[in-house]
């Protein structure tokens, strides 16, 4: 009895009525045809197997291309995610402020009147955002917004004995603000909890002033209002400047120090996709009477560098993909020439043009697919080796590499599609072969 699901590989001598001659072969038979495999797949797979050296080379070529794409994409994604993460650690994605004050000449556009007007830029006073409670509620309904936190920011002076430092104070509601800036993760001493008389300072400022958790600081706002606050936590934001200047306290405390009772100077917003920040900021600015600045605007040069990096990465991937496509196409063009007689005889046997075309399209797709699978494995291995060998000064990985399943999925899919597209012209040529000419060779 034949094995289920296979045909064409049944025992030979047992079923033969012809006597077995002495010269009969003893070689191991090929894998029998699978009954579930369509004709085109059978022929395509056998053609690839027959030219196994050629197939191995092109699969190797595709694999190297795919490995480069996987490795570069994961590396660049990791680098960018790390850079963006570090940049956005201590800041909101979008900051809403009161629109800047401007002056306009009184006699502007008066017909017939020519008058030289001197416009003096106005002082930008610290003032509260008008109707900020309503704006906060409105922001929470904006699509893509993850968290909203009102805060008061302004300049102040901290004094400890004879030492004093100019600082930037930020008054906030911890429950809301920590969803935007994960300050508790940055605390190196003490706690991130703040009440009305508490203050959080950076490690540089603590060092400069010689203070620690539990010590008191005299803080005076620019308007002269002062308060004595207790240090409950010391943080490290990863930047010396930020650690020397930033301070955090309760919203009411800051409102009092900045002489803004009940007011806020900024509304901080975090969005789900950091790269959507600018679009959302524009939408907010159009909907509410506030100035909305995204991190992309405030870090324009950095974002430009990230964009340039992405673009160069995309370009490299495109050209690698193109070379993969040309590699597959060239192999199949040669294969069509090599197989022209066989194509001719297939056509003579009643095989349709469509079937011939599918045989060669499948070869392209299979080359792309197998190369992509091998390439993905090579890429993943290279990433693992890279992560283990390229370390920062303290011996830890430079940054967390991402191995997104979607990247592998997309790469395999795109490589397969590339293989199919690359095979299209050779496949069409094969299908169009005149059987008479093809058989003659």
């Amino acid at each position: 009895m034949k094995p289920t699901g296979t045909v064409g590989g049944a025992p030979t001598a047992a079923t033969a009525s012809t006597p077995v001659p002495a010269s009969a072969p003893t070689a191991k038979p090929l894998q029998p045809l699978k009954s579930w495999l369509p004709f085109e797949w059978i022929v395509a797979l056998r053609f690839l197997r027959e030219g196994q050296v050629q197939t191995a080379f092109i699969v190797g070529g595709v694999a190297i291309g795919v490995a480069v794409i996987v490795f570069m994409s994961a590396l660049m994604t990791g680098v960018q995610a790390n850079m963006v993460s570090r940049t956005l650690t201590g800041q909101p994605h979008i900051q809403l402020t009161q629109p800047r004050e401007t002056v306009r000449p009184l006699r502007d556009n008066v017909p017939g009147l020519r008058e030289g007007a001197i416009l003096q830029a106005p002082l930008q006073r610290v003032k509260s955002i008008d109707q900020w409670q309503g704006i906060v509620e409105q922001m929470r309904t904006v699509t893509g917004v993850a968290a909203v936190s009102p805060s008061v920011t302004g300049s102040a002076v901290v004094i400890r004995g004879n030492a004093s430092r100019a600082v930037l104070l930020t008054g906030m509601n911890p429950d809301l603000y920590y969803r935007i800036v994960p300050l508790p993760e940055k605390i190196v001493h003490g706690t991130a909890l703040v009440t009305g008389t508490d203050i959080l300072i950076g490690i540089e400022l603590a060092s400069d002033l010689g203070v620690g958790v539990g010590d008191k600081l005299r803080v005076t706002g620019v308007g002269g209002v002062g308060a004595t606050l207790t240090i409950t936590g010391i943080f490290d934001l990863g930047q010396t400047g930020a650690n020397a200047r930033s301070t955090f306290m309760a919203l009411r405390t800051a409102q009092s120090l900045m002489d803004l009772p009940g007011g806020v100077t900024t509304i901080d917003v975090t969005v789900r996709d950091v790269y959507d920040a600018e679009t959302i900021a524009r939408r907010i600015a159009g909907a509410a009477s506030v100035q909305a600045d995204s991190w992309i605007t405030t870090n324009a040069q950095f974002f430009s560098a990230v964009s340039a990096q992405s673009m160069s990465n995309t370009s490299i991937r495109f050209f690698v993909g193109l070379s993969v496509a040309f590699g597959i196409a060239s192999v199949l063009v040669v294969s069509v020439v090599q197989k022209s007689r066989e194509i001719g005889i297939l056509r003579a046997m009643g095989i349709t043009r469509g079937q011939v075309m599918r045989i060669f399209l499948l070869q392209g797709g299979l080359l792309g697919l197998s190369g992509a699978i091998v390439g993905s494995v090579i890429g993943a291995l290279a990433l693992t080796v890279w992560q283990k060998t390229v370390l920062s000064a303290d011996g830890s990985p430079m940054f967390a590499l991402v191995f997104p399943v979607a990247l592998f999925g997309w790469t395999v899919t795109l490589a397969t599609i590339t293989g199919l597209l690359a095979a299209f012209a050779p496949a069409r040529n094969a299908a169009r072969l005149d059987p008479v000419v093809a058989i003659k060779g």
Binding site: A24, P25, I42, M349, G350, T352, I439
Partner: protein, 232 residues
């Protein structure tokens, strides 16, 4: 009582190349020919006489410039490529001088190929049919060998078995013994003759060998694009 339909019916078939150009050349000049069921005909003629063109037209691999071709009663004029391919696949088996087997496949798979291409998926029935045909041509022990490992005579016998796979009404054999030694050539000829006798398959056997032609029932001579003699 009506006469049986001819397996091949050509009426005033002409074939020209470079049609409409100054160098237009007519290679077949109004050939009319009938091949009946069970005919075993030799097709002879010098090189360039047009016999390959005639064979291609009968085999539906090429179209005549004018005239009509009917295979097993089916008129081919006006049929599109897909319909011609289907008719060819079901009605005609080819055996070429250079067997043109698929080297990536075994002898058994080569014989299965026409049926497999037509059915889409392999099945036990077509395997059994292919095995039976290989047995008939005496190649059962070699059925699972890649055809590249077979001798020339064995390859040609596989090609004959493949031509029979679809149980065609007509076999077109284009110098199938031209590259074989006498023993192998005789074996292949005997095989075709047996198929012709036992199944009534019409065989058109192109040959340059007068001795082979002598062994056929009829000889058709093609000279300068015309059928000049029929019968012996």
């Amino acid at each position: 009582m009506t006469a049986a339909r001819p397996v091949v019916q050509l009426r005033d078939v002409r074939k020209s190349y470079s049609v409409g150009l100054p160098n237009e050349t007519e290679v077949l000049h109004g050939i009319t020919l009938d091949l009946q069921r069970g005919d075993f005909c030799a097709l002879m003629g010098p090189s360039g006489s047009g016999k390959s063109t005639l064979l291609n037209i009968i085999g539906l691999l090429d179209r005549p410039t004018s005239g009509t071709v009917a295979i097993s009663g089916a008129q081919t004029l006006g049929l599109d490529d897909a319909a011609l391919t289907q008719l060819r696949g079901h009605s005609i088996g080819f055996v070429f001088q250079y067997h043109h087997l698929l080297t990536a496949f075994t002898a058994l798979e080569n014989v299965m190929m026409p049926v497999l291409g037509n059915a889409g998926f392999p099945n036990a029935e077509m395997t059994a049919r292919a095995a039976e045909l290989l047995d008939r041509v005496g190649l059962t022990p070699w059925r699972d060998q890649l055809v590249g490992k077979l001798s020339g005579g064995q390859e040609q016998r596989v090609a004959v078995a493949r031509a029979l796979a679809m149980k065609p009404a007509l076999i077109l054999a284009d110098e199938p013994t031209g590259n074989l030694d006498t023993e192998s050539a005789d074996a292949v000829f005997a095989l075709l003759r047996e198929v012709n006798t036992t199944e009534g398959t019409t065989v058109l056997f192109v040959t340059h060998n007068p001795l082979m032609a002598e062994r056929c029932d009829r000889t058709i001579d093609v000279i300068d694009g015309r059928v000049v003699t029929r019968g012996r």
